[in-house]
């Protein structure tokens, strides 16, 4: 098992957002999560990453053989969890290059490998930059500083490619992208599918899932997974939206 979430209940600012969530992801699988605004999709990502202020009230999260809830944010990352943010933060003053080099070397250190020299890293970074179709000067700029929405998303995918994580959580990596950029992001993700690496893809649009074929699609509403299925579920949502949820929740209540 890659990830096992059991009966997760989590809150922000004393408000319960995740209300009993169960999810199991096996190595190599791609799971898509869809659901209305405010359902708790991003919150789930934050909880998995270990963000401060996101209290786990009950339940458990197992990552490989480790108790994820016992680990610090950076430990989780080095263990192989990667979260591509819906709204990546800008950090002027820290160059993208320096940032990525330090993160890659932190991962290498964890694996007992020697750090990459500046020259070695530059080579790898250039290739990754090319892969997500960002000009090379983006490496020199401050982290996400002044990047357009789409550029920020591609920058996240570039980091994913560089860090080679085990579980990639993509929070709306497709929103705000033009058609070409959407393809770039999808290709970036697909290039990382190797039968071992797993993906949790949060999206509002069926379109991304045309490119990244998910194994499972889950509907997250009001802090719970209310429906799971195959790729066809995404198509259903595209056609009929979430109006049916009302009835569903009443039925399950």
């Amino acid at each position: 098992m890659m990830l096992t979430i059991k009966d997760l209940q989590a809150s922000v600012e004393e408000k319960t957002i995740i209300k009993g969530l169960n999810l199991t992801i096996n190595p190599g699988e791609v799971h898509a999560i869809m659901g209305p605004n405010g359902a708790g999709k991003s919150t789930l990502g934050y909880v998995l990453s270990g963000r401060e202020g996101y209290e786990v009230e009950s339940g458990s999260i197992q990552f490989e053989n480790q108790d994820l809830l016992e680990m610090e944010v950076d430990e989780r990352a080095r263990a192989g969890i990667f979260l591509a943010f819906q709204y990546p933060v800008e950090i002027p003053g820290v160059s993208n290059m320096e940032f990525m080099k330090e993160s890659v070397n932190a991962a290498r250190k964890e694996r007992g490998e020697e750090p990459l020299s500046a020259a070695e890293f530059l080579k790898t970074a250039k290739a990754a930059c090319k892969q997500v179709n960002l000009p090379l000067d983006f490496l020199k700029r401050g982290v996400n500083e002044g990047f357009s929405g789409g550029e920020k998303k591609r920058n996240e995918i570039m980091q994913m490619i560089l860090l080679q994580p085990k579980l990639c959580i993509l929070d709306e990596s497709d929103s705000g992208l033009d058609i070409d950029a959407l393809k770039v992001v999808a290709d970036g993700v697909n290039s990382q599918r190797d039968g071992e690496r797993s993906f949790l893809v949060v999206t509002h649009y069926q379109r991304l899932l045309d490119y990244i074929q998910p194994d499972y699609v889950h509907i997250l509403a009001d802090g719970k997974i209310v429906k799971s299925g195959g790729p066809e579920l995404a198509k259903e949502v595209e056609v009929s939206g979430y109006a049916w949820l009302e009835g569903h929740e009443e039925a399950s209540a």
């Binding site: 989780r76 002027p92 003053g93 820290v94 993160s103 932190a106």
Partner: protein, 415 residues
Amino acid sequence: MSQWLAKVIDRASTVKDSLSPVRQTALATLSEQSWPTRRTEAWRYTSLHEVAELELQQPSANANAEAPVIAGLNSIDLVFVDAQPVTDIAKLTLPAGVSINALNDADSQASRVFNQAKPSHHLFGLVNDVLAQQGLVVDVAAGAQVEQPIRIVNFVTDGVESHHRVLVNVGDNAKVTVIEHGAGNGHSMNTAYAEYVLGKESKLEHYRFAMHGENAIHMGGSHFKMGESSRLNSTIVGYGSRLTRIDTDVIHAAEHAFAKMNCIYLLAPKEHFDLHTTIEHAKPNGTSEENARGIVGDKAKAVFNGRIHIHRDAQKTLAELNNRNLLLSRGGQINTKPELEIYADDVQCAHGATVAEIAEKELYYLQTRGIPRSQALVMLNFGFVQELVNQMPNKALSEWLQPLLRERFSAMETK
């Protein structure tokens, strides 16, 4: 008047050189000064009680030292120890258009620049006026494009009080880089003032590094009189030391001058750093951009006072002033105050001051990429200072400074 200041005034009467006539005016002003207290506006957050009782020795004549090596800088170096000259100016090969003389050399005609840029209200500036016998007068001829930086290094040593003065005249259309580098430690007190007169359409790249150790007391200033359409790009880097006070004045004495000033201060625990900057927009169409950024360690104290004075005539002035601070612990202290006096109506003036604590959101982002919290802290907090280091036009200097400041900062973090 303090005991120390009374002795300064006594000693001033023994100073006799070609500058004596102009020193007299300063002495008269100094004699009327009362010793600052906490109620004195310019010294509100900086106590001078330690200076009031100082009893240090005069510098000895035969000192020796070498300028710190900075890879790729290739500068003309003038070294002083406790303001006493080490470098033999006569032996230097100077670029075309540059002449350098000792301050006390009658040929230097120091009075052309002396007190032309520095206003008379700086107490320790006045002390320097009456006591500084050592220093330099640098002349850059009109039109000279001097690529090789001129670096003036002054080391302080234990137990010594010293006074150093630099006077620089940049001719019309000339271009030059001057680095004032103060270093050293020990229980010492020094004043170091520099004045720059910029000719029409001249360009000055200026650096002041006040890197004194935790026992030193350093009082100084860099003052600039801007000629028509002249350009100044200045970077000031300060450590706190036991007490460091720096005053700068940029005087837009003619139209269309442009002045950029970046200030960086990194205060180790318990250090004290006080920076007072003034931009005088006396003439129209001037531009000034000033950014001061500092990191304040535990129990350290930073004072920043940024004054912009836009005179009634100075229409179409553009002035920006920004001060950002990061407090590493609740035990540190920052007093920051922009002081705007605007008497012209058609101007653009923006200012801001912030005091931040550790930015958790950015820290989290770095951590989600596997970077340990302690390292992320350094990356983030240094980044905000690094931005200004990167803006230094001289790459050899910024590459030298980068690791130096980073190291200093990590030492502050893991205290």
